[in-house]
Amino acid sequence: MKGQRRRPIRGMPFRSASKPGKGGATQAFLRALLVLIVGVCVIGGVLAYTIVRRGLSAHAEPSRVEEILTGTMRRWATPEAIRARRNPVQTTDDVVERALQHYADHCAACHANDGSGDTEIGRGLYPRVPDMRAPETQSLSDGELFSIIEHGIRLTGMPAWGTGTPESELDSWGLVHFIRRLPTLSPHDIERIDALVPKTPAQLKEEEEIRRFLEGDSNKAAPQKAREE
């Protein structure tokens, strides 16, 4: 036997055989599955350890990968038929005015009077409230904007405003027109929205104190930190 070379047994080729059979494909699949399971366990373990040690905070900025993943998931969650819809409501001054009032009443608290999202709530939500004047929002189709308003976005601060009634849909389509105008809102429009935003008695009192102070009323005004907005 000395000096004799081993030969493959017929029907049991070495790994380097040029054409893997059915068993080879199964092996590759099992190997991939194992890699996946181990990978998920490792990442899950590290994530769990990090969460337990440091906690989770909405102060964090979502990573770019997370933004891309959630954006893609949101697109997938909007049915193609809705995504492709054009706004069926004609743009008229009345429609835009009604939408402006609607926006001031329902949306400005989070999205800001100018649509920038720069509000106390907007900066504190995870993910952040987007700047709706920016291309990321303006490039969405009418149908996508409508769907977001009507059905909300899961795992974000965006609620579903739709009630399933024709009136609600009409309001949402009107808001789509208004969102398109956000990048070109005039300072006058923004002031009008501010005047229409619902305010608490404390906020109204503070506004009055500020007005009196700026107009020169010599009575001692509100303290320096009048209100955290």
Binding site: V35, V46, A60, V65, E120, E206, F213, S218, A221
Partner: protein, 108 residues
């Protein structure tokens, strides 16, 4: 197939660590500062608040000025009453909006 799984794992990893690295970033809160301007420069404003305390507020290109006439920060005269909507972060107060009122001399 293994490559595809590996790509998904990398994405999940980036997601996990990307979020973790920013866990405790923290922004300040808006508040209003009412006072009389003692000095106005292009990049900052010094004012005496209603309690008589001197406060320096930084001005940036994003600072909005709300006045009867369009003006720059450095054009605000000493003695003018202002209400500043500001945000304080790490001992630095930055103006988001400055509402310009009458001068102290014109005050009733």
């Amino acid at each position: 197939m293994t490559r595809r799984f590996a790509a998904v794992l990398v994405a999940l990893g980036v997601l996990a660590f990307g979020s973790g690295s920013y866990l405790f970033a923290h922004d300040g809160h808006d508040h209003k500062v009412m006072g009389t301007v003692t000095m106005a420069m292009a990049d900052h404003l010094v004012l005496k608040d209603t309690d008589g305390k001197d406060i320096t507020i930084q001005v940036t290109k994003d600072t909005k000025i709300k006045a009867k006439q369009a003006m720059k920060v450095e054009e605000i005269k000493a003695g003018t009453r202002v209400v500043v909507t500001a945000v304080t972060e790490k001992d630095r107060t930055t103006a988001k909006e400055i509402q310009v009122g009458v001068s102290a001399a014109a005050a009733k």
